[in-house]
Symmetry: C2
Subunit: 297 residues, 2 copies
């Protein structure tokens, strides 16, 4: 690696429904400067982001990890757009085009969760693994999937938060998902679902509260489905709800008990503590993954 | 391509729990000769298979698509083995080693369903697609997943037949899966489950029989989960149960209704008839895919 490569700078945007994180970093994933910008209107938020990047004259490329759904099909007329999002004012916004035109540099684009998975693959808990799944459980529930270091897209991109799981016995909660009500993970145990069920944030549950069993049951059900479908080498769980680390052992135990010795492999039977883990980059998976999207351009 | 390449021959084994199909074919997927051998003891079945291949002096390589679970980890001491199968006498059989030693040629090895997916990718309904899922619904339920033309493995390999799905309202069937009883697809709607529920094969249901709704509901639930997790470009459904083609429109309609317009993409909203399809190779997906495993060595 030459000295010049070491000095190259890249831009990154982690675009969320409540805030944008904009950052400048290098090929090692070191963030030199970053700011937070509230997500208001596209005009306001995008131009404030642009102002931040314009301070740097020598950015090689930009990476964007965005809330969605977004169009990732490079053959599509609306490639690089945020498409049918419920977020007011943000439908059909040409996200990639705006920065490509204004900064005249290559722009990498993916979902916020695929970006977070990429960050964990490059510099976090998923380094050198052939397949990882990153799941965020917060205001929404979403998942990114990396196979051989590359995010999978297919007909759209994974939307793991909306997989439907068997009901926890006796659970009569009516759900919060506008599409799947109380049937999908997001409807059953996203942050807003938890607040609606029990009037509490996920880090406020007292010992013995019913929420522990319900949340860990549904997450274990969803993860069992993911393990049996993708067979990933590691599963990384982030987001506000998972900042409550006491959920991890409950989830791991329930997965083992649900699989019931069907998968005779050490990752499940012996080393599940290393298999289902918190993000190695703490809350930086998304922004560092967005940086990686820029670097890979 | 040279004339020599065109003339090269490859061996293939589709290894199932009731029979082995052994075949000789070329790089175009054309089968020159094939035989069926009952799956009895490993000694008997493997040596009969070997006799078939020994008739040919010039086989370049062999491909095996096998029932499982199998060990696909090339760094493992038991790579190429059938491992913890419930099939009597077939535990810890060194499948790859047996043929590698006896024939002294390279041997490709994967699950029967990953092989079938590969066959469909090379010569069937999944040609030139970036990601496909092949599901077989028969004596067991299994799934193969191809990303960029390569079967995914991870910590083991996909075992999609065992994903757990929400209950059909009022369904009190106690299931047939020894691991997950009435909670997973295989326990609920595999061939033996259908026989135990209604005393019928899946091609014997009269018009209006309750089975249509139950089977299509569970398959649609499982496929919804697969679509939201992998976002594959095509889903191919094979196996004995799916030879009843009337199930296809029922499944497609239920998936649309369960997704409830969440995925605003033409593959689901407009062209679902081309998205969820029977195998292009009919019952040859597995043996031709095994051939492809040999060719790729």
């Amino acid at each position: 690696m030459t000295a010049t490569q070491n000095q190259k700078l890249y831009g990154a945007i982690e675009a969320g429904g409540t805030k944008f994180v904009c950052a400048i970093g290098d090929i090692h994933g070191d963030i030199k400067e970053s700011i937070k910008i509230p997500t208001t209107t596209p005009e306001e938020t995008l131009s404030q982001s642009l102002d931040f990047f314009r301070k740097y004259k020598n950015i090689e490329a930009l990476g964007i990890g965005s809330f969605g759904p977004i169009d990732l099909n490079k053959n599509s007329k609306t490639y690089g757009y945020i498409t049918s999002t419920p977020k007011k004012g943000w439908q059909n916004v040409n996200f990639v085009g705006y920065f490509q035109k204004s900064l005249n540099i290559p722009v990498g684009f993916d979902t916020d969760v695929n970006a977070a998975a990429l960050g964990e693959y490059k510099w976090g808990a998923g380094q050198n693994l052939k397949s990882i799944v990153y799941l965020t459980i917060g205001t929404g529930i979403g998942g990114g999937v990396l196979i051989e270091g590359k995010p999978i897209h297919g007909i759209l991109h994974p939307e793991i938060g909306h997989i439907c799981v068997p009901k926890f016995t006796g659970d009569s909660f009516d759900g919060v998902c506008p599409f799947h009500e109380n049937k999908c993970l997001e409807g059953l145990i996203s942050g807003p679902a938890i607040m609606k069920r029990w009037g509490l944030q996920s880090d406020q549950f007292p010992e013995g509260h019913a929420a522990w069993e319900v949340i860990s049951y549904y997450l274990a059900s969803g993860l069992m489905s993911i393990i049996l479908t993708i067979s990933p080498e590691k599963i990384i769980l982030g987001g506000g709800v998972m900042s409550n680390l006491k959920l991890f052992p409950l989830i791991r135990n329930k997965i083992k008990s649900m699989l019931n010795n069907y998968l005779q492999i050490p990752e499940i039977l012996e080393n599940i503590n290393d298999y289902i883990v918190p993000p190695g980059l703490q809350s930086d998976s998304g922004i560092k993954g967005s940086l990686a999207l820029g670097i890979s351009q």
